[in-house]
Symmetry: C4
């Protein structure tokens, strides 16, 4: 059976690629002032570290979301309207990332730090919910999936997103009281995902080998 | 017969993806002021709701236009000059969307509200006309279409765009007198399209099943 | 023989798509002033017509350049370093378009009109030269081209770009004395290209039919 | 064996294409002042030459990086997590290029020139390291590579990136004392790469012919 979702993936890749690249527009080049020398420029650039932090976190967040999207769509062969719009929701949230990133960069050093982190973690709660929705809609109708997919793999993918949910909610809740801990939790989750994605693959390979 | 329109679709997807992602650049991050706390930031962010509204409406408008474009080009296998330029016109309008979106966001709360909504709905009248033109040019010459397409499907597609026309014109006309109603009509039309696209598919499947 | 240039086309399409979509960022949304009503907004928007003109001309210029690129690369099956960098030059110029477009929009109504039009037409002289270079490099080595291409088609393509050269140079020269005529000449050339591209196809088809 | 890396290449091409096209946003169109004529505009445009220089250097840097990426991925057929994230690192750096380019354009004519060039060359040191990492991870596990690749080609590719490393480090070190020499060294390295890429291909072809 031929994969029918090529153009959806192409369009999604475009949105991911643009969303991830636009983030750099949020980094501000200091103004050139009278008699500004290297030391002064370095001081101004260093003072912008929350901007770099927000940029780096958001870049790799979108990248990991893209890796997830990539893996998910390797299992999806056909599309229906629900799938199209669940995917649209994910793309919408990817597009949005730049806005709370900007907020975080600008208000990290202000009294509004907590709010900016709450909005930031809140966006990733929504992102997780959209992925759960997408996989729920896809796995409900087996005719949409790769013909040779087994129940075990469907469950494994479901669990990846389902287990992420309480963690994202926890980060969101924490952000009201300990914003920096909440942000750290999000970063740790992404590091975990990056590594666990490798482990899952290996497990699958071992299972395949065992089956042979 | 091989599909000849792959690169047209790739390029179009690029324009759609960028057009839809650039919209976020119109959301303004409030300036950091002396002693600004979470409450003050929240108040400033809330006051920007017409900007979010315009962003959300335009995002899903372009998304639905892309879904339409995707469906249309699944039926188109070859290209001629007319088709190229009708498609160019659609891409031009997609690119434009960000401008009236910006106008709508900025002038929704002003005396120029009516004009900004009129321009916004006017753009989608032109979009509908371009889609009608594209399908007219494509269906006029059967050698451009998928070899196994039937007359019924050609007609169905034509009707989808043709029936949209009076509604868009109505929204445009309404916008002069009841701008908010006009905007609401546009949104309802997109919701209708999102759902009807599913129903059309189902109808087609039922027809296929009946034919077997 | 398999086409080897898929990824070059994909990357080029990306640059074209972004170059063409970024143009809209040059349209300025008027500032919201105290008591600004529909009439005042309309007046401000109307006063920006050189911006819309520059936007429309540049959009369709890039679009026609893309159509050309698309046609050229349908004949190119393999790549070498020269081809890569001639293509890089074209992409560089596509990326640049937004800058003279902006100049044209801003200085059309000023004493610097002539300079802005000269720079604008100058860019398209360079664009034409790059296309001539690309086709020269591609057609010099038949092993890069589509295996079944005939000499007549190679010549036809060469002539299309070669005949454009004096016209672009004429527009550039004219721009020093009659800038508006130069701009008009460019537009007419694009209209001519849009239509002639169709005629060329038909000629080729007739030739194919005659050969059968 | 089917190539598994198509979507990674597509996404990467998107990021490259956007990164390379966004550079133009850093060129500033002079403000329209009272009685500004062609001479005045020309003077203002000419004064911006460091901006054009930075734009041109960065455009072709990203382009050469893309050519490298393209060549590398022609040899890579399968992916693992390490590869995904090494590629993510390259894309991150590509995205970043616009920031030091902007710094270079703005501070080239100031006392902070040295710092801006140091940061600029520093970015390309990181870029070189990422490519070395990517190829190290890919070549360590032959099952990821094109099935018919020979040891000689693997070594050749490794050497290309390995030999670049001391040169980039030299440029970075030089930038502290002779910033312009460092910048020139970077440009020369790109010119060398552009040409050597051609020679490598020819060598490989000769080897193939000799083997036949």
């Amino acid at each position: 059976m031929e994969k029918e979702t090529g153009r959806i993936e192409g369009f999604s890749d475009g949105v991911f690629a643009i969303g991830i690249t636009l983030l750099v527009l949020d980094l501000h080049v200091p103004e050139l002032k009278e008699g500004m020398n290297g030391t002064a420029l370095w001081r101004e650039l260093s003072a912008q570290w929350p901007g770099y932090m927000a940029f780096v976190i958001s870049f790799f967040s979108i990248f990991i979301v893209w890796v997830s999207h990539h893996k998910l769509f390797k299992q999806i062969y056909r599309r229906n309207t629900g799938l199209m719009f669940a995917n649209g929701l994910i793309l919408f949230l990817v597009t949005c990332v730049s806005f709370p990133t900007n907020l975080l960069a600008r208000f990290y050093h202000s009294e509004a730090q907590q709010l900016s982190i709450t909005l930031y973690t809140g966006l990733f709660v929504l992102m997780n919910l959209s992925f759960n929705l997408l996989w729920f809609l896809a796995s409900r109708d087996r005719s949409l999936l790769r013909p040779d997919i087994d129940d075990q793999s469907i469950l494994e993918i479901r669990n990846t997103y389902l287990y992420g949910m309480p963690t994202y909610f926890a980060a969101f809740a924490l952000s009201f009281f300990w914003p920096n801990t909440a942000l750290l939790l999000c970063i740790l989750l992404w590091v975990y995902w990056a590594f666990s994605s490798g482990k899952l693959q290996m497990k699958r390979r071992r299972r395949v080998k065992a089956a042979l």
